[in-house]
């Protein structure tokens, strides 16, 4: 494992492009009704997960809420498996059983994909607990939105993490809106990061539109945590360009506000930095972008051509190792089936 600072920034830019193009294509496929349910896009926030993941090891744990496509992609889940999950296909990263809000990838230490706001923050604390219990030097990155900070689960989890001194970075992706409610209308504090202070957890505000700042800040904190386990809190100031979900036109904010943030686009910003430093030409950038688009188009094709999960596997993923006969109350089900298998003391049965 090379030191994180050495990770190729061009590669990280390429990842941000992949996320952006993936989400754009997901949006299009959603409108084409290839994707069901809810679908929350990450466009605008790419620097947060990319920067954070660039700062940790592949065997560190990450867990997030429902705006999770980017987190799986950043962790190394293939665009094919992600798109197939959106299409509800067997080849999806959760076999088509999770959907947009429940991406999981055990191999890449991506622990979901959780759709109840803040309910995964205690889980994240459990992941960190396991790290400390086993005496490992891993770290857990727990991502959540600004909407999560007013849930009880958030507060209980922060207190537990601080009390038990667990190796976890709470990463609040503050995109200014919990669905349609602005932080100003939801939160009594002036700054979200001050929530951490209430639990004696060190916290900082980070420019979440700046890849390098995110990466460096996470790297610094993770380094400190590996030396001596403790929780930390980062408030990433970011912005989502799209509505809360595909069904939200985001009429609660102005075009001017959106345009202001677009000028600060995380991809444009890293590209400009790299170009200025002579590390990236326009031609190279165009090539990266073209590759990202091709990967995503191929993923759509893969998802379309993938099989549905077979109907006869319906009961296969309720209990590990089978063992519980499900309550099948469907009409047409032969009665007595179970009973007839066993010896009956009554011949009339």
């Amino acid at each position: 494992m090379q030191p994180v600072e050495q990770r190729d920034e061009v590669e990280m830019l390429s990842l941000m492009l992949l996320i952006r193009r993936f989400e754009e294509r997901a949006s299009q496929q959603y409108q084409a009704q290839k994707i069901g349910g809810f679908c929350h896009l990450y466009i605008g926030q790419e620097a947060v997960v990319t920067g954070a993941v660039a700062a940790v090891r592949d065997d560190d744990y990450i867990i997030t809420a429902y705006r999770d496509h980017a987190h799986a992609l950043a962790r190394g889940t293939s665009a094919n498996a992600c798109m197939a999950e959106l299409f509800g296909k067997e080849t999806g990263c959760s076999r088509g059983l999770g959907g947009s809000m429940h991406f999981f990838d055990k191999q890449h230490h991506m622990y979901g994909g959780h759709a109840i706001v803040a309910a995964h923050i205690p889980l994240a604390v459990g992941l960190a607990f396991a790290i400390k219990y086993r005496g490992e030097d891993r770290v857990t990155l727990c991502f959540f939105g600004d909407g999560a900070i007013n849930q009880g689960a958030f507060h209980e989890a922060l207190n537990l993490a601080a009390l038990y001194k667990l190796p976890i970075v709470f990463i609040c992706e503050n995109n200014l809106f919990a669905m349609g409610t602005s932080v100003k209308r939801s939160t009594s504090l002036r700054q979200i990061v001050d929530r951490a202070e209430g639990y004696d957890i060190p916290g900082e505000i980070v420019d979440g539109m700046n890849f390098r700042e995110v990466r460096d800040k996470v790297a610094e904190i993770v380094d400190s945590i590996r030396k001596e386990p403790h929780p930390a809190f980062l408030e990433m100031r970011t912005y989502r360009y799209r509505g809360h979900s595909m069904s939200d036109p985001a009429s609660y904010r102005t075009k001017q506000e959106l345009e202001k943030y677009r000028l600060d686009d995380p991809i444009t910003r890293l590209r400009a930095q790299l170009t200025r430093e002579g590390k990236l030409t326009n031609e190279q950038f165009d090539l990266l972008d073209r590759r990202a688009k091709e990967t995503v188009l191929a993923a759509v094709k893969f998802a379309e051509n993938s099989p549905q999960p077979p109907l006869d596997t319906l009961y296969d993923y309720t209990y590990a190792n089978g063992s519980v006969e499900p309550a099948r109350h469907r009409p047409g089900e032969p009665a007595r089936a179970q009973f007839e298998q066993g010896p009956s003391p009554n011949k009339n049965l």
């Binding site: 999770g98 459990g126 219990y133």
Partner: protein
């Protein structure tokens, strides 16, 4: 075999599983330094240390979720709720996270967690502290629910629960913690499978299906009925989910008459499910309509006389038996 209390049996089960598997830990309110609100974890802190016997703040949602997260990476947490009435604060973790994870992740993450603690009405604790939660939890796919009534079952079921690769709720009977019973010696491994009912008393005239705190009640009533020449078979379900249909049907086929005595509420209660399965599968074996005896459909009053009126009792059970026996 030797006689120990229900509380000691649970304590032995915890100690044996902690000893056997380093991935097992016990977490909950007052489980360590206080030695357990009901002394079930007595002595475990001294024996296994604070790394594995862990006190929590009063944060059921937080520590239940912590357990689920730790189980995602292979630990086998035992999460104690001081009472299952308090598990309602953690309902989201127990219902939404623990049992859904295996499905939602397409089979990548099973959750080998045990939630345990006292369940059901105790004595004059009022509405908030008297919940019998078995029917809430048994209705959730992905959860398993067991309800031991004797020290032997308490030990054997808890040990099995800890070894299960799924979330299992061990709903202990608060009023039975001090009750005594015969249990195998500690050097003899005692595992009782989930989904196996036990005939606690053989009979031929009527089957009484019961579990947890209603088992001693049913046994008492059976002795009383014997004097009136009614032979009651007492079948302790032991597990609500999985449910031992075969044991239920076998007994019904023998007696043809059924009373279900449950400690939860009547509406959508455990007995409703048992009743449905009996009539669907062996309708012809029944000689009388099934009767259920449960709590009354009201929040639990504090007043002692009213509380007694709400709970299943001998009088109600005897009346139900006589009704199905046309006696």
């Amino acid at each position: 075999m030797r006689e120990i209390t229900y509380r000691q049996a649970l304590n032995e089960a915890l100690a044996e599983e902690l000893e056997r598997d380093p991935n097992v830990f016990l977490m909950g309110e007052e489980v360590a330094e206080y030695q357990g609100a009901y002394k079930v974890s007595h002595g475990l802190l001294q024996r296994f240390g604070p790394r594995r016997i862990i006190d929590t703040p009063i944060s059921e949602n937080g520590f239940a979720g912590l357990g689920v997260g730790a189980a995602m990476v292979g630990l086998r947490p035992i999460i104690e709720f001081m009472t299952f009435s308090f598990s309602l604060v953690a309902f989201d973790q127990v219902v939404n996270n623990a049992p859904n994870m295996f499905t939602m992740s397409g089979g990548q993450f099973n959750i080998p967690i045990t939630f345990r603690g006292p369940n059901g009405p105790a004595h004059q604790l009022g509405a908030t502290h008297s919940h019998a939660t078995e029917n809430f939890y048994a209705s959730v796919p992905g959860l398993k629910v067991c309800t031991p009534a004797t020290p032997r079952d308490a030990k054997g079921l808890l040990k099995t629960a800890v070894r299960d690769d799924n979330p299992v709720l061990v709903l202990e009977a608060e009023l039975l913690y001090s009750s005594k019973g015969m249990v195998e010696p500690p050097d003899e491994e005692l595992l009782i499978p989930l989904g196996k009912a036990e005939v606690k008393r053989e009979g031929s005239d009527v089957s009484i299906f019961c579990y947890a705190q209603t088992v001693p009640l049913a046994l008492k009533v059976a002795a009383q009925l014997e004097e009136e020449d009614i032979s009651a078979e007492i079948v302790d379900l032991r597990s609500i989910k999985p449910l031992d249909e075969k044991a239920i049907f076998d007994s019904v086929a023998k007696t043809h008459r059924v009373v279900i005595v449950e400690q939860d509420h009547p509406f959508c209660g455990v007995g409703a499910e048992v009743c449905y399965r009996i009539q669907k599968n062996i309708f012809d074996a029944l000689d009388a309509p099934i009767i259920r005896v449960s709590q009354e459909d009201v929040p639990m009053p504090y007043n002692e006389r009213l509380e007694k009126a709400v709970l299943p009792n001998a009088e109600k059970l005897v009346a139900a038996v006589k009704q199905v026996c046309y006696a």
